[in-house]
Symmetry: C2
Subunit: 337 residues, 2 copies
């Protein structure tokens, strides 16, 4: 399997990306190949000598870089030699079986979607992030690929995220919840209400009904379906709140007793590690015809390593084929897209 | 000032509501009167003898109760003798200067909006909740009154929430942020982009631009404007995440050392208290022609006491008059509602 990795993606590129690639190579098979995509003159000097690599790691030159804050579609169109654009083209031309980037999310979505196209039966792709919660992992889909969702998109996010959880994390019959503002049927905006009807009409969906924000951490569902605007707010709010709360705890501990603070530090570190979404190694862009993982901008080598392993599992488990098969067997369609 | 309180609202009614009323009476002035609204035969026996109350606390009979999970509009229409319906009518007939409920939020919004009507110049009311964060309080508006926002609604939420913060918490020139999925101008859905233009066109608005979920806890704004769907998810997600995280910390501490857990307990208690949104005593329904506070369903006596004090401040600071004056001086209108 050939996995292309954006060497210039994220706040810690290229050092942490290259480190992640080197860490993961030992864990892959003989037939696996990692392709670092980025400016060759920057990357090559950081790799071990060619002969020791034995063809397991190669470099594809992409001299341009799309910044984290550049406008996604425009930058992808303008910078044809950027790592993201080159990777998308490699996937299209079947020169890579998976693509991974911790770079500009919007540019990744635009590039991958435009080049790789959607899976048969899928109207719009969505990004699924797995949240590690106290009650177990919960996948949230979409977290930012599609901020103007139609009901059929939300239904398909439920299908794709549950197939992903089932085959990637081994959760047998994932419970799917629909993010709304109350549990009753009548709650939610028009799109949510229509999506609810679509999801309910699928007899193979283990649908738990509407969920509320607090339910993500209560173990009531394995998949939370929402539009990309709401999902993006959820993702970033969670990040900000966790950081803010630990800051508050640290502050309280330090103002009181330094010794107590020191004792508490390993506990916090352990919690951080246990509930760290980097553990799941990036979020798949579900619904495109290929394997694409998008990682957090602050990804460290561990995230990249985990993303590489997750992409292999995604690919070998044939999750895309299973999604296509599932959708082809339902009669749930709409004419609104 | 006459403040009507829903004796039957919330999970801990009527005991905690009555306790909150009794706690607050000492803190009010000679001319203040608290009116408990609910089934007289339930409430009256729980109050001190009449002569010791000296007219400060009275009871208005409302024999029906709207449950927390009942459909809002229908239940308000059907149960004319419910505490929420009776309070709304009292406000309309000028028999109460403020109304407070920890009951069914949807029913409160429907009842107060229908009976009390909107302030002059306001298109739709919104609920503002103050989040206590490590960097200071942040008001989020709307958190559930209006889930199909138009740009003008978002603009007015910015205006109303900033006036509320300024006059209730004394924040001189509140910084207003617009909840979106990226800081760049081009980010967000169509409603958000249009709202951004409206807010930017107001020279008296201290507008910091788009904010993301994580920014709420970073001290970049005092007001976060969003539609009621997103705001409701934010509110409930925060609640669920904080509880989940403390559960995880407790679990980690207990599996290790009981003594360490015991030492850490007062720290957690202090943090809970410091960052407890009950401190702000309920959320105002901004934009209606009156003073209405909606409290969390799990409110304890302290929340009710704080809500009573906040309603007095809201009323005496003439926040509604200031909102009307502000809006009458801007030329920001749209024809879309």
């Amino acid at each position: 399997m050939r996995i292309a990795i954006d060497a210039m993606g994220g706040d810690n590129a290229p050092d942490e990306i290259i480190a992640g690639v080197l860490e993961s190579i030992e864990l892959l098979g003989e037939n696996d190949e990692l392709i670092l995509v980025g400016p060759q003159d920057v990357i090559e000097p950081q790799l071990p000598p060619l002969k020791s690599r034995e063809g397991a790691i190669s470099v594809v030159d992409a001299p341009e870089v799309i910044g984290m804050d550049e406008p996604p579609v425009e930058s992808f169109r303008r910078k044809r030699k950027s790592s993201i654009a080159v990777m998308a083209k490699m996937a299209k031309l079947n020169q890579a079986d998976a693509v991974i980037s911790a770079g500009n999310t919007g540019a990744c979505v635009a590039a991958f979607q435009m080049r790789m196209r959607n899976l048969s039966g899928v109207n719009r792709p969505g990004i699924a992030v797995v949240f590690p919660t106290f009650e177990g992992p919960v996948a949230i889909c979409d977290v930012g690929a599609n901020i103007a969702c139609k009901p059929i998109n939300l239904y398909q996010y439920g299908v794709m995220a549950k197939m992903y959880l089932k085959h990637l994390l081994g959760i047998e019959n994932p419970r799917v919840g629909l993010m709304s503002i109350g549990q009753e049927d009548a709650k939610g905006n028009e799109v949510v209400k229509k999506a609810r009807e679509l999801i309910k009409s699928d007899p193979n969906m283990n649908f738990v009904g509407n969920i509320e924000g607090r339910d993500i951490f209560k173990g009531v569902c394995d998949v939370a379906v929402c539009d990309g605007f709401v999902g993006n707010v959820i993702l970033k709010l969670t990040e900000g709140l966790v950081n803010g709360l630990f800051k508050a705890i640290k502050h309280e501990l330090l103002t009181e007793k330094l010794r107590l603070a020191m004792k508490f530090k390993p506990v916090i570190t352990r919690i951080y590690r246990k509930y760290d979404y980097n553990e799941y190694g990036g979020a798949p862009l579900l619904g495109i015809n290929g394997t694409a993982l998008i990682c957090h901008g602050s990804s460290r080598s561990r995230t990249i390593k985990n993303a590489i392993l997750a992409s292999k599992r995604f690919y070998t488990e044939k999750i895309n084929e299973k999604i296509v098969e599932y959708l082809s067997q339902t009669s749930i369609r709409t004419n609104d897209e």
